[in-house]
Each structure stands twice: as structure tokens, then as C-alpha cells.
Amino acid sequence: MEKKEKIGVYVCHCGTNIAGVVNVGEVSTWAAENLKDQGVVVSRDYKFMCSSLGQELIQKDIKEYGLTRVVVAACSPHLHEATFRNACKGADLNPYLCELVSIREQASWVHTDKVAATEKSKALISGGVSRVVYNEPLEPLYVPIHPATLVVGGGISGIQAALEIADAGYRVYLVEREPSIGGHMAQFDKTFPTLDCSACILTPRMVQVGSHPNITLLTYSEIEKVEGYVGNFTVSIRKRARSVDEATCTGCGICWEKCPKKVVDNVFEAGMGNRKAIYVPFPQAVPKYPVIDRENCTFYIKGTCKACEKFCPTEAINFAQEDEIINVEVGNVILATGYDPFDARRITQYGYGRLANVFTSLEFERLSNAAGPTGGNIVLRDGKTVPKVVGIVHCVGSRDKNYNEYCSAICCMQSLKFAHLVHERTGAEIYNFYIDIRAPGKGYEEFYHRLLDEGTHFVRGKVAEISDAVRLPGEEGKLIIQVEDTLTGNQLRVPVDMAILSAGLEPRRDAKAVAKQFGISCSADGWLIERHPKLDPVATVTEGIYIAGCVQGPKDIPASVAQGAAAAARILGKIMQKEIALEPIRASIKEEQCSGCRICNNVCPFNAILFHEDKMVSEVNPALCQGCGTCVAACPAGAISGTGFSNQQILSQIEGLMLLNIKSHKETVPA
């Protein structure tokens, strides 16, 4: 320590929240007497430090005593660190020279022994004082924000986000893997609980996206590479070859009419219907241009056919078309890549894939859709028999330790919707097998009551098995659903004609790879993690990367739309500011001490560390660095230092916490 710091210590009562357990007066006096050698020149306690009067008290002392460091012993830094730092800033003290010590969450609220809590508070303050001596004044890092935005995923959430930003006058690149935008919502017939026609409300939005002057729509495309940092990302996008020239194609549809090759459509029709080898996934597709599925096209397999080319009136077919790599510069990114439905085959005892008349929810969506393979007729797998009894199994793959422990949030309402549609179109008898009915949205509970009034049976119990092993009279040709009705305690065998598995939602198969590509975190399940589960639901830990919709966790359409809009609003705010201040908690490498051993190089998940082959040294890119400090700890030469959490700060804090900085302490140690 070259020059002696002047430190002020401020102990908050927080009403009785702290003072009720910790003897704040004693703590304050103790600090003044015992931490003098550390540089404490003033120590005070006050009823509410965070009040404007409390803050003024600190500011006055900074001026009068010429304080160079401030320690506030109060609540958690997550609550009021910003408050006290701003107070210091107001008195022309660099905000990072203020240290918060939590004696509420870590002492008064969690301990009952008043003496022990008081002693612990002293130690914590002693640690804070020892640490603050080594705090350094820091300035935030400013980087400019590129006004364009990348939206990944053209489901309803991505569509909403893209439109919000484009309407505000900024460029959006919307990237979608499938040939058309629309996502899962385009596959649905009705939406709960209003029973709006899904296509009727979605299609206008899709058209708007397709024709918006500020939206560059890249379908049948995937992200190749992401580089850069908030405000300045460079993204490479692979635009897969459609084999159709978009400039000349009019979307007239002659090509797919004439194409002789039928293919089972496992994506949009969930395997319930066919498409051609050249196709648009559905009539309202945006963009309207078809793609040739090269794996199934006769020309690509056998080298002959070219029916589409022969009939195309505008000569738009281009068999030689190649993938194209497009590089775009964007300031921010929204990931709205959605979900995969749970694969019901995994629950073998439910018989999906083995028993013909067991359907998944997505199959049923197509079955009930007027534009679907049966024209909206709800029939068995034979394509004609109308079921008389239908069983709907809830929580398939959800709330189950063997598969996913979480609740998929939408299945109850989806099941109720199915029950209603079956009732309305077939008049069949309907059983819902549920664990709990979860209907927390607006109008959802009312919809449930409507179903109860329609005479749908509700059996509370988790289905054990769906089988074709009939035994009793009347069961012939039926599926038997075996379940315990937990409200009556009875085992039931319910014979049905059709079973619908209300499959849960799962993260996309490649969610972890996407998270890695964009440098954000992903839960063990695979859902991407938001910055704060309550207060920051669409931002992520990586500045400039936002998430919206089911990529963050299962949610219904209104919630997905809200998140899309919220992410857009967050980004618009950033674009308006033109530049962004980054937290100055960063690592840096002292070049003369770095020997280029490269231990740190792949310790960083944000790729913030570059190795210069010429100089044989590594360097941290401060804009990419997120400040975790892992490289600081990993550097064998001690050549990396981290602001805000330097070795000196922590080592000194340890001594402080152990009261080694106090002279009288030595006497109390037993010899």
C-alpha cells in the first residue's frame, strides 16, 4: 500500500431487519477502533442507509473526510450495490471504490444467536475493508451498436419480434430452417381457449413478414458461424439450395402438381399425409417458392425426370443451384428456435408406433385440421372409421422422472381443446386421463368448465399402459387404457377406439449446439437460460443475445408472442442508445509476463482469448470477455489479472475475514 486510503464504514440498521439481531452500534464502534490501521477514518450506523438521507450522509463524509473508499454493511449487493455506487458517484468518488457487505441476508436474517451474528458481521466488515483497499477505479466500456438485428427461427415468436423491429424502421434478418416460416403454429387447427382458427390469425403475420421492406427473409437457411460481440456480430448464414430461382418463380404451383414423386411428409403433416418431391410445406407458405427435396427427387436419384422443369412456365427450376453463404453484420440477435415435441415412441407401454390407433398430439392436430390429410374428419388410422370412444392421455413425457420432470405447460389446455374438437365433430365419448389440470391463463379455467359441461370424463390418474390385450366382453377390437383412478382408488380398464397422447415439449435436438454457437448457457435439460428468471426473462448472460418463445422453456402462443415483442423492445432500446456501456469486470493479460503457453486459450467459452502466433502471447478481447475470471485463475504464470476481483482483493479479504488484520487478534489465538 503506497498511499494510505481513507475509508468510511456505514452500518445499516435496515429498521429492525438488521438491528434486531446484530448489535449495529457495537459493530460500528468496533470497526472505528479496530480497523483504524486499515485506514478506517469514520464509521457510522444509521436507520436506513439506502434512504436519501443515508446516502447523503455518505456523500457528506466523502467530501468532509476526503474518503477514498466506502464500505456499506447492509443488504445483499444484488439489491442495493447500484444504489450506493451511484451515491458515491454523486460525490465524485468512482463507484467501483464502494464495497457492499451483506450483513442482512448473511447474518441477521439467517442467524438467531445475536452474539454470533454480531461477531460474524464484524468479520464480514473487516473482510470488506481489507478488500476495498485494493479496489480500483473502473470505467465502463462503450461499444457502438449496429442497428440491424438477426432473428433465428420463424415461428410465431420470431415473427412477432421481426415485425416489431422492422416496423420501428430497422433492418431484420429472419433465418428459418424450414422452407416456410410459420413454425408449429401453422400446423394447428384451432388455438385454445378461444378456438380461433390458427391459420386465420397467423397467415396475415406471415404475409407481412414476407413483404416487409425492412425484413430480409432467409428460409431453408441455417446459421453457420457467429463471431463478434454485442453491437458488432458477424453472422454467416448458409442459404441451402432450393433448386428454384426465387427471382423468376411465381409460386404458381404447376411444378408440384406435375411432380410424379410422392413423399410422406414427416415434418408439416407429422407423417399423416404426403407431399411431392418439389413442394411448399402448406398452401399459405411464406415465401411462396417451392424447394426440391434432393434426397427424394427422382432426378437427383436417377438422373432423369425433370418434369417440374418441363412444365415450369418461367424456367425457374435450377438443378445446379448451390448452397450460398451470406454474411451479415448485426448488433443484436434473437434466438426463437422453438421446441421439438416429445417422441411418444419412447414410452413403449403407450404403444405409439405399435398400436395403430394411438395418435400423438401433433398427428391429431393434422387430423382435425380442415386443411389436413382428412379434411378435418376425425377418423381412425384406417381413414374412415369414426371413433365412438376416445381417450386423451395427459403429461406424456412430462412430469415424469423417467423422461422430463418439468410440466410442459400447454398439454392440459391442448388436451381440452382436442376433447372439445372430438366432441364437436364426432359426438364420441371422451376420457381425459390427467394428473392435475393446469389452466392458469386468461379464459383457461372457463374453458375447462365448458368441457366439464360437455360431458367429457375426467379421470385423475397416470395411465399405466395402453394395450390391445382384450379380455372382457365388449373389449374386442378396442384399445385398453389401464389406469388407477386416484380419486376413487379403483383400477380401471377403459376400452377406447382412439387414444391421443398429449406429448410434452422438449428442447430442440440441437439446442445445446445452438447455445454453444451463440455463447449462451443452456440448462441440463437443454432449455436456454435467461439472464434472470423473473426480472430479465428474454436477455441472456451474453450481451446482445436474446431469447424468445419456447426455446427458453415450454409456453403457449400468447406467452411466446409476448416474449418476441419483449425481446424486440429490449433491442430497440439498445439501438436507440447507439452505444452500450459494458460492465468493466474484465480480464487482461500482461504481455511481458505471458509466455504463450496457451493454457488459457480454450478455457474461455466466449472465445475472448486470442493467441498471437507472431508474438507468442495471448490477448483478451475486452468486448467479448464476460468477466467470469476463469482464465485469471487458470494462468500458470499469473499473467492474467481481472478487474473487480483481483487476487490482491480476494487474498486481502480472506485475511480480513479471519481478522488477521487486527493487532489485538493475535492475543486471542490460543497458543
Binding site: I347, T348, Q349, E465, D468, A469, V470
Partner: protein, 293 residues
Amino acid sequence: MKEYAYFPGCSLEKMAVSYHLSALETTKKLGIKLKELEDWNCCGATTYFYIDELLAYTLCARNLAIAEKTGLDVVAPCSACYKNMYFTAAHLKKDADLAEHVNFALEEDNLQYNGNVNIKHLIEVFAQDVSAEEIKSKVTRPLEGIRVAPYYGCQIVRPQKEKEDVEQPQFFEGILSAIGATPVNYPLKMRCCGGSLIISSRTAALAMVRNLLQSAVDSQATVIATACPMCQVNLECYQQQVNQEFGTNFSFPVLYFTQLIGLAFGIPPKKLGIGKEFVSIAPSLLRAGQSKD
């Protein structure tokens, strides 16, 4: 040559001697040696664990300790023996206190169990340790056209060992396909045969047997294949009582899977213990076996 420590269990000494014979014959054909454990004792069967748990564990552990000395994996053809030994080993691994108690008792016999034995059911040997190709290569008389109901019973896949499918397993079907037979879709293949309920609650057990037989008839099988002496006895020997009780008319052959494999391998039926059953097997089955001769 693969070698296993073989724990036949009490049933195979008498009642299920045909299982014993066919197991030895078929494995021999595949180049597998089943080396019978020396001085083995009863596994405790299904009931002993409900009478004195500690002694029941000790009983099983004694066999495990003997097996451990051989350094081989243990194979049990009986599902109950397999299950008892498997979960005894699992419990001893998890519960150090139990292991200490058990080893204290085993000391009397100069034995000790250290938890290093793998326990397999005989059918696992055919399903996992031997490939379908190896089985196919030994088939001289494929059981073409024979529809077989693969009856797993309730103990082979319980408890779940790792991540294998315990709800709709397919390995039994795989073995049957390998010998040229047609495994039928047998929806009750995992249901209980009644076990020892046949003694304590006869009617209930007979109803369970009836369901299993009816399901086999409905799936148009010609024979039920089992992998457990208890299942075999319940399904076969009680058919008359089922008929009396429910007015049915079952006469349905129930064979050990090893007997079917033996037929396909061209082993003379007598060597497989065929001819000792209560319900004679359909002549068509024997013919299928011999037709390629």
C-alpha cells in the same frame, strides 16, 4: 470358448429337468461352457425374503461368494433365482452394513463376498453375449412357420438393470426370429403367471393363467416359449384345472425357449427333454424341426 458359472437352482434338478438338459445342449452347440457351481444352495425362492430377510440375503450371498471365487459371471436359468441373486448383489453393494452382517455369517463357512459378481439370466446370454448371427449359424432346421408367443414373465427384466426397455422389451422376439420362428405379438408377455399364488389363492392364479393362455390363442400362436420353471409349470400343468374352473378347453403346449432353440439346432428332441411335458407339442412343431433333414 465362453465360460459361465452355472447356478441351476432346485427346479432344474427335477421338475424342470428338460430346461436343464436343453440349456446344456444348446449352449454347448454355441461353444459356451456352463460350469455348475460347487456346493450351491437354494436361492430362497419367492417366499423366504418375506420370512427372514437377513437369512435370505445370506443364502443368496453364499452362492455369490462361491461364484466369486471362480471369477466367472453367474448364469441362472430360473427367473426367480436370477432375480434373487441379482438384487441381493445390488443390495449388498449399496448397503455396507448389510454386507458386513452377511459376511460375518459367511465366515462360518470360510467364505466372503466382495461384490464382484455379474449375475445374468440364461436368456441374457442368448440375447446379449451371443449374437443373432452366431445363433443363426448353428440353425440347421429353422422353425419356419411356427408361431411362438414369447412369454417373458415378470422377473427377467425386473429390476431394471440399466436403461433397457422394461415395458416392451424385444430381445426374446429377436432370439425366436434368429431360429426362424415367427414371434407373435403377445400383449400379455410381461404379465405375471400367478407364481406361488397358485397355492395360496388358487382361483385368482388360475384366472391369470387363463388370461395368458387366451391371449396366446388369440394371437394365433402354436406354442408358448418361457424362460422360467415356475411360469412353465403354472401355464402348462394347470391347464386342466383352468378348463374345469372356467369351462374352457385349453390344450396348449408350453416349452422352454432353449428347447425351441435345440430343435432348430437339430438336436434330437429326447436330448432336449421333449416328451416329458403334460401337453404334447404339436406334431407340426416337430415336423418343422425335422423337415429340412
